[in-house]
């Protein structure tokens, strides 16, 4: 069985070839990190996997299913959740409402039932709430449950966004720069959480990250990109010492 496989992914924006023949494979239960200088195409890979972009060539296979042409809103139901580099939370809603939205992929109530708020809707809402509360406990978000996102500091928002992704109960979690904008202490917390997500919840993590300390601490495999092309793949140490990677970051 193929858990996740990207094969020959390519995409053009006008004349710019943002990705060119990127292939990689994830094993279940891995933390797989993509690194690369700015503009290397890391987030573009995420946008391809979450189907916000259409690739010009290549295929994406997830759990033996070709998801290359699946509509974006079907991705969450397939078990893939993501966070965003610049935080895309629902700003004028509370943390709780944001997390409950993470349960949208598991929505089973129909509109007419909701209009009348039938007992079935109430029961389902309570089920969603139970699931959300588990995530709240997991990520220590209890004090912020009823705060509006707009009133929260950046570090907490970052965690809330991860919590929202976890509420979809994914099998594959895409984290786009989980440590950006966090201080050293918060980054350490993030490292522990990523490890817990993998070992305790058994979720495979695909991550884009710049902080090499975090990358080395949590990654099983690392893929380095430059100008949309993969230049090295291996464990964190191998990739960091790869001559092509050194050249991409330092020039020469």
């Amino acid at each position: 069985m193929t858990f996740f496989k990207a094969d020959g992914l390519a995409i053009n924006f006008g004349g710019i070839r943002a990705l060119d023949g990127v292939s990689f494979e994830l094993e279940p239960g891995q933390v797989f990190t993509i690194i690369g200088p700015n503009g290397a195409g890391k987030t573009t890979i995420f946008n391809l996997v979450s189907r916000l972009y259409d690739p010009s060539a290549g295929t994406i296979v997830f759990r033996d299913e070709d998801i290359t042409r699946v509509p974006a809103h079907e991705i969450a139901r397939r078990g893939i959740a993501r966070t965003f580099q610049n935080i895309e939370l629902f700003e004028h809603a509370t943390v709780l409402q944001n997390l409950l939205l993470g349960r949208h992929a598991h929505k089973r109530s129909r509109f007419v039932e909701e209009l009348l708020f039938l007992p079935r809707v109430r029961t389902l809402e309570l089920e969603h709430r139970e699931a959300v509360e588990k995530v709240i406990d997991f990520l220590d978000l209890q004090p912020h449950r009823d705060s509006l996102i707009a009133n929260l500091p950046y570090g907490v928002r970052k965690v809330v966004e991860m919590a929202r992704a976890l509420c979809t109960q994914p099998t594959l979690l895409l984290l786009d720069e989980p440590s950006s904008g966090l201080n050293v202490e918060e980054t350490d917390d993030m490292a522990f959480w990523i490890q817990d997500i993998r070992t305790l919840l058994g979720i495979t993590v695909l991550m884009v990250e710049h902080d090499m300390r975090l990358v080395s601490a949590v990654s099983d495999r690392v893929l380095a990109l430059n100008y949309g092309r993969p230049i090295a793949v291996g464990n964190a140490r191998e990739v960091q010492e790869h001559p092509e990677v050194v050249k991409a970051y330092l020039g020469g």
């Binding site: 965003f84 949208h104 909701e114």
Partner: protein, 380 residues
């Protein structure tokens, strides 16, 4: 300051925050029930407030919760009104069935507007709805067999299950009941996954999509639901005005509806109702002021002698009898609200409430907005 002590998840699912809030709403309902005894002369105006409340609810769902600003809602009101009158008077259907069908007809119209609107966002969508409203108004003029065209169409008083609602009081209670029903249904949807999905679309389409919200389906649903509510409001509106003519459902009315939700406070059902009170009562207040202001000012100036009193009386009368005063005041108030109170009357109300609940410790800085550079805080 009162804090709600939560011991069960069920508490977060209730219609009201706690018993205290529920009791206030019961008191409000009691107030509405005795209102006909207090202000018998203004009951027709109050009925209009209630109908506008329903219309505000409709636009609030679309603009305040889903983030799709429409300038075509007067057209939906018109479709609801004409459809209802056609079903009751031309086809002779029972009132309740006719209202249901009118709501369904407007919902279909809402879907038809919603479909092309899916590809548009922001101001382009607003312009598309505006175009739709103009087309619909033209159809009201041309389709004489159904609408009566420019000659207009007289509307009978409602008769529900054989009971005639011919008096103002009876019609007022009908409006109260329908508005309460509309509020109940809307609150239910908003506390369910669908309502959350609408809010998600408003705040971040991209995040909503990757959480599994089908943008096309939920935007269309928002349009359909909003239009259906507007259709029901239209049915009541038809009875209220008693005579339908195409020029009632003009762009100006759409703008008034938009004014209603903005002045009331976007993103809250309270706002829709506050806005309705404001928009429906302001013309009444202005016409009152037209009659009484010159007298008051004249009497005040009269202490300096009869000549001064008469001069001031005539001067003030000339000023308040100026044509175009009403839209001018509307516009001025809208501008002032956008400048000073983006959360509208509801925002003012929140501040007032917190002032009294924290008295004497209220500090203005509670609501002071920091200069902020994050995406979220630029939104409003």
């Amino acid at each position: 300051m009162r804090f709600v002590f939560k011991t069960s998840y069920v508490q977060d699912l209730g219609l009201f925050r706690d018993e205290v809030q529920r009791n206030w709403y019961v008191a409000l309902l009691g107030g509405l029930l005795v209102l006909p005894l207090l202000v018998p002369t203004y009951l027709v105006d109050v009925s209009l407030v209630l109908i506008y409340g329903l219309a505000g609810l409709s636009l609030m769902v679309l603009a305040g919760y889903t983030g799709l600003v429409s300038l075509g809602h007067a057209a939906f009101l018109g479709i609801g009104a004409y459809a209802h009158v056609y079903f009751t008077q031309n086809l002779g259907l029972p009132w309740v069935v006719a209202v249901g069908l009118a709501a369904a007809t407007t919902a279909v119209a809402g879907v038809l507007v919603g479909l092309p609107a899916l590809r548009m966002t922001g101001v382009y969508l607003t312009i598309a709805t505006l175009a739709f409203a103009l087309i619909i108004q033209e159809i009201f003029v041309q389709w004489e067999r159904v609408t009566g065209g420019l000659k207009g169409k007289a509307v009978d008083r409602p008769v529900i299950f054989g009971v005639p609602f011919s008096t103002d009081v009876a019609f007022y209670f009908l409006c109260v009941a329908v508005l309460m029903g509309g509020l109940w249904l809307t609150t239910n949807v908003l506390r369910s996954p669908t309502g959350r999905a609408w809010v998600a679309i408003r705040d971040s389409e991209i995040a909503a999509q990757s959480l599994g919200v089908n943008l096309a389906a939920y935007k269309t649903l928002a349009f359909a639901y909003s239009a259906a509510l507007m259709g029901i409001a239209g049915a009541l509106f038809a009875h209220k005005v008693g005579f339908l003519a195409p020029d009632i459902f003009s762009v100006l009315l759409s703008i008034q509806f938009l004014l209603m939700v903005v002045v009331g406070g976007l993103g809250s059902l309270h706002g829709a109702i506050f806005g309705a009170v404001f928009v429906a009562m302001l013309p009444v207040a202005i016409s009152q002021a037209r009659d009484s202001l010159p007298v008051w000012f004249g009497a005040a100036a009269g202490v300096f002698g009869k000549g001064a009193g008469d001069a001031v009386y005539l001067g003030v009368e000339r000023l308040v009898k100026q044509p175009g005063l009403e839209p001018g005041i509307f516009g001025l108030i809208l501008v002032l609200f956008i400048l000073f109170e983006p959360l509208g009357i509801y925002g003012r109300w929140l501040k007032l409430r917190i002032f009294f609940s924290t008295f004497p410790l209220y500090k203005r800085a509670t609501f002071k907005r920091q200069k902020a550079y994050m995406r979220s805080e630029r939104l409003r």
